[in-house]
């Protein structure tokens, strides 16, 4: 099937979403939203891998994405457990309230 959508369209889209994720991490203060921005970045990286994988006709990128998803799941399990422990202690998720360590 002839199509005008090419590799670069996917790469540009992934790059944009990756940067939106970076902006989210660097500007937001809610722990959960920061974490979600990270997930968005990770997914953009996955999209890049799959796009390359498709256009290079090489499944290695797709296999890699398989493992990225596993890693993301493991990270989410531990990361949200940390969020839960924090909330039990300070009853807030605003990152600025976590400043016991600032002098």
């Amino acid at each position: 099937m002839e199509t005008t959508v090419g590799l670069n369209h996917y790469l540009i889209l992934a790059a944009l979403l990756f940067c939106i994720g970076i902006a989210g991490v660097l500007t937001r203060r809610n722990l959960l939203i920061i974490f979600m921005s990270v997930e968005l970045m990770l997914n953009s990286a996955n999209l890049t891998l799959i796009a390359f994988s498709h256009y290079l006709v090489n499944a290695v990128g797709m296999v890699f994405v398989f493992f990225t998803m596993t890693v993301a799941a493991a990270e989410v399990g531990v990361g949200l457990a940390i969020v839960v422990t924090i909330f039990r202690n300070i009853e807030s998720l605003d990152i600025r309230k976590l400043n016991v360590l600032k002098h």
Binding site: M1, M69, A73, G77
Partner: protein, 119 residues
Amino acid sequence: MTPGDYLPILIVFGIVGGFAYFSLALTHLLGPRRYAPIKQDTYECGVDYVGDSRQRFSVKFYLVAVLFLIFDLEVVFMYPWAVNVRTLGWFGFVTMTIFLVLLTVGLLYEWKKGALEWE
């Protein structure tokens, strides 16, 4: 299989979403509007409600949810093995056994730690 073969799925998605919006919009347009305090209540008749829906969940639910996530991943790994199980033969069997032993030990651990109990 090219993406074109997945077009029916896309159409189904469209129909499903369209139907949902269509019905919502239709009730919104056609339904009579009579507002009264009793109408706005969660239950128009029967029991009075207690508290609100944003009740805090207990942390024990979290552990169950994490378990679900981890074993979800396990199944995700099993599927591509299962479709190739004949070709992979004993080699795949041994690989999968090791993989499953790892996660079974994890399950055993959770069980013994009481993470699966409702207390």
